[in-house]
C-alpha cells in the first residue's frame, strides 16, 4: 500500500509543480535556517572530552570577604582558586587524579635562524594534567610530580609549535627559550584541543584558543610568568603576588571515578571551607562550596553568546511561519482534490486510508524539503564560518545533526499535513460526487 501511496503522491505533486516547489522551498528555508543555528548551538554545547568528561570535576570555594561586591559585568573571582587553596586541594590527594592550572602567554625565542620571536599561548599545570585529561603524546611524555616539586625547567610542546621550532624531526630533548629562560623539551603532545577549552579561565576565547606549550605551574610561580584571564585580588595590604591568599587565578580539575568519591569530595570541600572559616581566612558560609561536573561547569559558565540564542529563536520563528504557510498550502491542495478523494471513499477506502495517503504525500514534501534544507544549512554554516566569532570555525555538521535535519523536516511537514488531511477526511463523499 505504501508504494501505491508514494506513487499517488508523486502523481499529485507533479500535477501542481509550482505549488509543490513553493512548499518544498518554504520548508527547505525553514529547516535550513533552524538547522544552521541548532548546529551552531550543538557544537557550542557539545561534550569537549567525550569518554572522560563524566569523571571530571572542578571545585568552587568561596574565599571572598563578606563585604566584597561583585560588579555587574566583571567575572566572579570565586570562579578561580587562590594558590594556597589550590595547593591544599592538591596535597590532600582526595581524588584519583588532580591538577591545578592557569593559562599564560609567553614570548618564544627560536634558536633557528630566520625565525622572529613570537608570542604563544600555553598552560602552566601540575603533573597529573596529562594523564587526567588523556593528552596524547607524539614523543616523550609529561613531567613527573618530582619535576613539579623541583621546579624543573621542562616543557611539553604542542605538535604545531614543535614543528615550527624544530621541523618534522621533533625536538625531544632539545631546548626552547621562552621569555628569558631555557626549558628542556620532555614531550610533544599530539592533536589535542578540546572545544570549548573547558579547563581555561572563563574570560578567554574558549572556542578558538589552544595550548601550544605546557610548563610546570611551580616554575611559572617561581619565575612570576605572566598569567592570562581573570586574575582578581581582594586583599588590602598584601602585594599582588601569585602566591598570596587573596588573589584567585588558578583553575583546578580532578578525576572522581565513583559516586561515592564525588559525594565524599563534596563533603571534603565543605569541611575544608569550614576549617578555613574557623581559622579566620574565609568569611562566607562553608556551604557555598560546590563541586561541578564538567558539563555542569560549562552550563554554569554559560558560554553561548546572547546573539546566538537570539538567532536560534529567530530561525525557529521563521520555521514556524514556514510551517503555517505549508499548512495553508496543503489545505488548499488537498481540498482541491475533494472530488478524487470522494471517489476513493465511495469505492471503499476508509478515512484512515485517505489520511495515510495524504500523510505520505506530506512526508514526500518533507523529504524533498529536508534535502533542500540540508543544502541551505550547509550554506548557512559556511556563512557562519566566515564570521569573526571565535566559535565560527567549529560550525560543521556531524552525523547526528545530518540525520536530525531529515527527521525535523519530515516531522515538520507531516505535522503541517496533519490538519489539512484531517479536514479533507471529513469531506462527505456524497456531496462531492453530486457536484462532479
Amino acid at each position: 500500500m505504501f508504494g501505491y501511496y508514494l506513487d499517488l503522491a508523486w502523481r499529485s505533486l507533479r500535477r501542481t509543480p509550482v505549488l509543490t516547489a513553493l512548499m518544498v522551498i518554504a520548508i527547505g528555508l525553514g529547516i535550513g535556517a533552524s538547522m544552521t543555528m541548532l548546529t551552531v548551538l550543538h557544537v557550542m554545547t557539545d561534550d569537549p572530552l567525550p569518554g572522560r568528561s563524566a569523571h571530571l570535576y572542578t571545585p568552587r570555594i568561596d574565599p571572598l570577604p563578606l563585604a566584597y561586591k561583585q560588579g555587574d559585568d566583571s567575572p566572579d573571582p570565586a570562579d578561580n582558586l587562590t594558590w594556597p587553596d589550590a595547593m591544599a586541594l592538591l596535597k590532600a590527594h582526595r581524588a584519583t587524579r588532580q591538577a591545578a592550572m592557569a593559562g599564560g602567554s609567553l614570548m618564544v625565542r627560536p634558536a633557528r635562524a630566520g625565525l622572529q620571536p613570537f608570542n604563544a599561548n600555553g598552560r602552566y599545570a601540575t603533573a597529573d594534567f596529562f594523564a587526567m585529561f588523556g593528552v596524547p603524546f607524539e614523543q616523550g611524555q609529561g613531567w613527573s610530580a618530582a619535576d613539579d616539586e623541583a621546579r624543573a625547567h621542562v616543557v611539553v610542546l604542542g605538535s604545531a609549535l614543535a614543528r615550527k621550532l624544530f621541523g618534522d624531526a621533533g625536538g625531544l630533548g632539545r631546548t626552547v627559550r621562552l621569555e628569558d629562560n631555557d626549558y628542556r623539551v620532555v614531550g610533544i603532545a599530539g592533536d589535542w584541543a578540546p572545544k570549548p577549552m573547558f579547563y581555561a579561565d572563563a574570560t578567554g576565547s574558549q572556542y578558538s584558543d589552544d595550548d601550544q606549550f605546557f610548563l610546570p605551574l611551580s616554575v611559572a610561580v617561581d619565575l612570576d610568568l605572566s598569567v592570562n584571564g581573570n586574575n582578581s585580588g581582594w586583599g588590602r595590604d598584601e602585594a599582588n603576588s601569585k602566591t598570596n591568599a587573596s588573589t584567585s587565578w588558578l583553575q583546578f580539575w580532578m578525576q572522581l571515578d565513583t559516586p561515592a568519591q564525588v559525594a565524599a569530595y563534596r563533603q571534603f570541600l565543605v569541611d575544608y571551607s569550614a576549617q578555613q572559616k574557623a581559622l579566620g581566612r574565609f568569611e562566607r558560609p562553608p556551604t557555598n562550596a560546590r563541586l561541578y561536573s564538567l558539563m555542569g561547569w560549562l552550563a554554569h559558565e554559560n558560554l553561548v553568546p546572547n546573539d546566538v540564542r537570539l538567532q536560534l529563536w529567530l530561525a525557529l520563528g521563521f520555521l514556524l511561519v514556514c510551517m503555517v504557510n505549508i499548512v495553508a498550502l496543503l489545505l488548499a491542495k488537498f481540498l482541491r482534490r475533494s472530488g478524487e478523494i470522494s471517489v476513493r471513499r465511495a469505492l471503499g477506502a476508509q478515512r484512515r486510508d485517505i489520511f495515510l495517503q495524504l500523510g505520505v504525500e506530506s512526508a514526500v514534501i518533507g523529504v524533498a524539503g529536508g534535502v533542500l534544507g540540508l543544502a541551505i544549512a550547509q550554506l548557512g554554516l559556511w556563512s557562519v564560518r566566515q564570521r569573526p566569532d571565535d566559535y565560527a570555525q567549529l560550525a560543521q555538521m556531524d552525523v547526528p545533526m545530518l540525520l536530525g535535519t531529515f527527521v525535523l523536516a519530515i516531522v515538520a511537514s507531516v505535522l503541517a499535513g496533519l490538519l489539512p488531511a484531517l479536514r479533507v477526511c471529513r469531506v462527505a463523499p456524497a456531496l462531492q460526487l453530486k457536484a462532479l
Partner: protein, 407 residues
Amino acid sequence: MHFRHILSALGRHRIAVGLLVLEIAFSCAVVCNALFLIGDRLERMQRPSGVDEAHVVELFIGSVTPGSADAVMAQTRTDLAALQAIPGVASASVINQTLFGNSLSSSGVSLSDAAKAPSIPVTQYMGDARLAGTLGLKLAAGQWFKPDEFVTREQLISGSPGLPVIITKAVAEHLFPGQPAVGKTIYAFGANRVVGVLDRLVQPRDSGPAAYYGYAMMFPVNLPYTEGAYVIRVKDASQREAVIQGALRALKASGPMRLITPKYAFTLESQRDKYYRNDRAMAWLLVGVCLLLLVVTAVGIVGLTSFWVAQRRRQIGIRRAIGATRGDILRYFQAENFLIATLGIVLGMVLTYGINLLLMRHYELGRLPGYYLPLGALVLWVLGQLAVLGPALRAAAVPPVVATRSV
C-alpha cells in the same frame, strides 16, 4: 464594498482564513521586532567616539629585550621623533589603551575618598602632551594639561599626588549636574583636580550599561611604548596606508630588534569596522530573515487566493453574468485580502508586544517604540495587496460564460 458578503464567504473557509491570519500575524510580529533590533544595532554602530577616526592610525610594538625603565623611555622619545619626521604625519603620541582595542582599564570615580562613597567606573586614557591633538579631541570647557603637569609612569605608580584630570562631559554631568566641573575635585587616583571637560570620548569597548560608554577621563602621563601603543595623526586621510608603511620602516630603523609587524598596525577606521563586525552581521542577518519571511508569507497568500479563485470560478462567472464588472471582481479579492491582513496585523501587534516583552527580559533591549507598529502594518498591507494582485487579476479575467457551463 460589500464587507458583509466577504465576511460570510470567508466564514466558509474558517480554517484557511485562520491559517492566513496566523501567518500574517507571526510575520508581522517577527518583522516588527527584527526591524527594531536592526535599528538598535545601527544606532549602536553609529555612536560617535569623539575621536577624529578618519585621520588616526595606531601601531602596537612588542619589546623583545626589556631594558631599564629609563632606556625604554629614551627609546620611546627616539621613536616619537622618528615618527614625527615621516612625511604626512601631523603628530604622534603614546597612549595606554586604544579605541576598539582589546584592553580596557578603568577606575571607580567618586566625589569623596571615603571607602563606601558611591562611584562610577570611568575608563582612563593616559598619554603625552600631543595626545589630545593626535586624537583630535575637543574641549567643551577648561583647558588642556600644562607641560609641567606631565609625570612619568614611575611617578604615577608611586602615587603621584594631585594629578590633574580631564573628564568627559558625560562624567561631568553625572558627577556635577548643572554645575561647571572645571576646578572641582574627583577621587580616582587619589584626589584629582578637574582642569578640563571633553566634549566626548568613549570607552575602548562596551563594558557595563550603555550609559557608561561615554565615561572617560585623561591623565597627563608620559608612557613608554611598552605600556600601550603609538597613535599617529595623518594630515590627509588618503595617506594612512603610506604612513603606516613609513612608520614601520622608521621604527625598525630607530631601535633594537622588536616585534614590529604590519599585523599590529591598523587604521582606527578598520578597528572600528572590526569592532562592529558582529553587529553588522547580525543586522544583515535580520534583514535577510525579514525578506525571506515576507516572501514566504506572500507565497502563502498567493497559494491560498489562487485556490479560492479556482474554487469560485463558477460563482465569479455568475456574478459577471449578472452585471459585475472586472473591476468589481478585482476589488472583491483585494478587499478580502485587506480584511484578512487587517485581522492578521491586529493579532500581530499583540504578538509583537509579547515578543518585545520577552526580548526585554532576556536581552538588554528597550521597549519597542510605537512607530514600529504602523510601519509593520503598512509593510504587510502592501505585501498582501501585491501578493493578491496576480490571483485577483486571474479571477477578474474569468469570462461570464463560465456561469452557463457545468464545470
